[in-house]
């Protein structure tokens, strides 16, 4: 029996590769599934959301310009780093979702495997989604998928880690950068993921993690003129809110991924990758 007092962790946001507190100075209490206090999480403000978009935009050129091979390596590196901190995430997910250790472990393992799965997609998606177009004339004509830009992601509320990874990885593997709003009542695994990302060779700003009230941050992100796409997974079950956000997103014609029932343990398919890709078609005459 030790008298040692444990060291609490101050959970912080992850923005632009740094770990700031909320600009607002606010926090909110995060409890486990039984209502026991776990930690205070930053209660992000609209300003935090705007800062995160600026960081994501700044990172876009470098990340989208990196080779697919390099992006794949870095996504795999994230899986490596997570594997090393598996126990921490198992315990955080168990607390967050009220799961037994073994069920939480299954979620974390699936999340790690998902990074590996998406890592392998980085240098294949262009071959699957693009290709040569046999036009009726002497032209070299090629369609290539390209990232759409800055993607705002409202992470799913119930699946605090596997769901989170399942919405971030497909957006960044193709070169997009992301501002993700963590599950409102279970943000701690997401905030800890920030620490993993920071040590995974992922350039700062590629993924930015905010915690707080989804409804407070989602509106400004949906209306933000420098955000190119939005994933509404985090407002599944609130049709009114989803409609309001989709309506706001129309102002700059954001690509909208509408909320739908998702089994996060199932094979994710290519849907979420393709949702944040544009197709660029380049023509050039052929001849001698």
């Amino acid at each position: 029996m030790s008298d040692r007092l444990s060291v609490f962790k101050t959970y912080k946001l992850y923005v632009g590769g740094k770990f700031p507190r909320s600009e607002s100075g606010r926090v909110y209490e995060v409890t486990d599934a039984k209502g026991k206090w776990l930690a205070n999480a930053p209660l992000s403000s609209r300003k935090d959301a705007r800062d995160a978009v600026v960081a994501a935009r700044k990172a876009f050129g470098g990340w989208s310009g990196a080779t697919a091979y390099n992006r794949g390596q870095i996504l795999y590196r994230i899986a490596e780093m997570l594997e090393g901190r598996r126990e921490q995430f198992v315990s955080e997910v168990a607390d967050a979702e009220g799961l037994s250790k073994s069920k939480a472990a299954a979620q974390v393992d699936a999340a790690i495997d998902r990074w590996v799965w998406y890592a392998g997609w980085s240098d294949k998606i262009a071959q699957v989604a693009g290709g040569a177009n046999p036009v009726a004339g002497p032209f070299f004509n090629l369609s290539t998928p390209e990232p759409t830009g800055v993607v705002a992601v409202l992470a799913p509320q119930e699946s605090s880690f596997l769901g989170l990874v399942s919405v971030i990885a497909p957006a960044i593997v193709t070169g997009n950068t992301v501002v993700v709003v963590a599950s409102e009542k279970a943000p701690l695994p997401a905030l800890s993921l920030g620490e993993v990302l920071a040590t995974s060779d992922l350039p700062g700003g590629v993924v930015n993690v905010l915690s707080g009230r989804t409804a407070e941050i989602a509106g400004p992100l949906a209306a933000h003129q420098d955000v190119n796409a939005i994933d509404l997974a985090g407002v599944a079950g609130d049709r009114e809110e989803a409609t309001a956000l989709e309506t706001a997103a129309a102002d700059n014609l954001k690509r909208v991924h509408r909320p739908q029932a998702v089994d996060w343990t199932a094979d994710p398919g290519t849907d979420r990758m393709l949702a944040y890709l544009e197709t660029k078609t380049v023509w050039h005459p052929m001849g001698v």
């Binding site: 177009n133 004509n141 700059n252 014609l253 660029k280 078609t281």
Partner: protein, 476 residues
Amino acid sequence: MAFEYAPAPESRAVVDIAPSYGLFIDGEFADAADGKVFKTVSPANEEVLSEVAQAGAADVERAVKAARKAFEKWSALPGAERAKYLFRIARLIQERSRELAVLESLDNGKPIKESRDSDLPLVAAHFFYYAGWADKLGHAGLGTDPKPLGVAGQVIPWNFPLLMLAWKIAPALACGNTVVLKPAETTPLSALFFADICRQAGLPRGVVNILTGDGSTGAELVAHPDVDKVAFTGSTEVGKAIARTVAGTDKKLTLELGGKAANIVFDDAPLDQAVEGIVNGIFFNQGHVCCAGSRLLVQESVQDELLDALKRRMASLRVGDPLDKNTDIGAINSAEQLARIKALADAGEAEGAERWAPACELPGEGYWFAPTLFTGVTQAHRIAREEIFGPVLSVLTFRTPEEAVAKANNTPYGLSAGIWTEKGSRSLWTAGKLRAGVVWSNTFNKFDPASPFGGYKESGFGREGGRHGLEAYLNV
């Protein structure tokens, strides 16, 4: 001395326009429920060509019902059978292409050489291309058994009336959807002739329904609760309104919207070819093209040489009778559009850009605008930012490739772009940096049904053409 051109008009005897047309619903032509009609005129001489029905809410309701009823059988048909209907349509379009080309030039004002040599061949090609997909959908990389969505509500613009119809209807039918299509208010006739082709092809009733009308008809259609898919080509402003209408519904949406394409000429470009590409890029179809190369970005060191050659070339463009086979630039589509072009061109002068147009005699009646060039344009000028949708070219300059890319991307739009350089690595570097859905390198305004087309950013989302174009009409 140069020889004068004698008039070389295409005969309009091949096309028989009725004095009035109804709506095409459930395989029949019928008047609008409330009896409202409007006139469609030839923009070249303001002659009234015909009177068409103005569809109201009751007509939209009837057309969507007909399409819903037809969907059950049409979607259940084996793909190979649907394909045969589309092949029939493609052949009928080829057979009647002379008639349709003349009709299109009459109603739209575009030169016959463009409707005859560009629009109609592409229209037929589109139906051929998608006909071949109808029985191969499981091989398109969109899942092993992709399903149609249901009733597609489609709203198309006036710049390429029949081509935009083909872009919308061919993939929709190939995938097993049924359609209600609203052609533009100023160019309704070719869609009604297409309805007749559907009858000739023996297409089942209700699979294709055509509702003529104005913006209010389109708004009714996209808002109809029993429409499963909305496809729109037109202005960004209307596109945003449609996106708001569709928000919170299960309707799938694709939008092909405006553009302000940069046509970038580097100092090592083949200048004569570039001049042809610039002219084609902005003066094709009177500049009524969403992907028109309306911003010329020329490297400073070749500016004078290029502009001299461009002005010489522009002076040789022939503006006039759309049915004349020697006409390069036809009529502006409507009085309203002409007013918009004039207002923006005036704004260009007021903001300090220098306006130039070749000496050019315009016909006394109808809607006309001479091919126009603005130099000394800055990025802040309205003529460099707003889509003019007319034969007006704004010229900007740059010094480095980085500057060209920055200027090219400095717009909310992202539909198309052009690059002129003989250096392959520079061309590919530039193409990679441009945020645009279509990049033409050492060519411009090329289209093909096998080639995906569509925009980045506020030029809309979704792709038309190619394998990618199927996605918009399947549950994937």
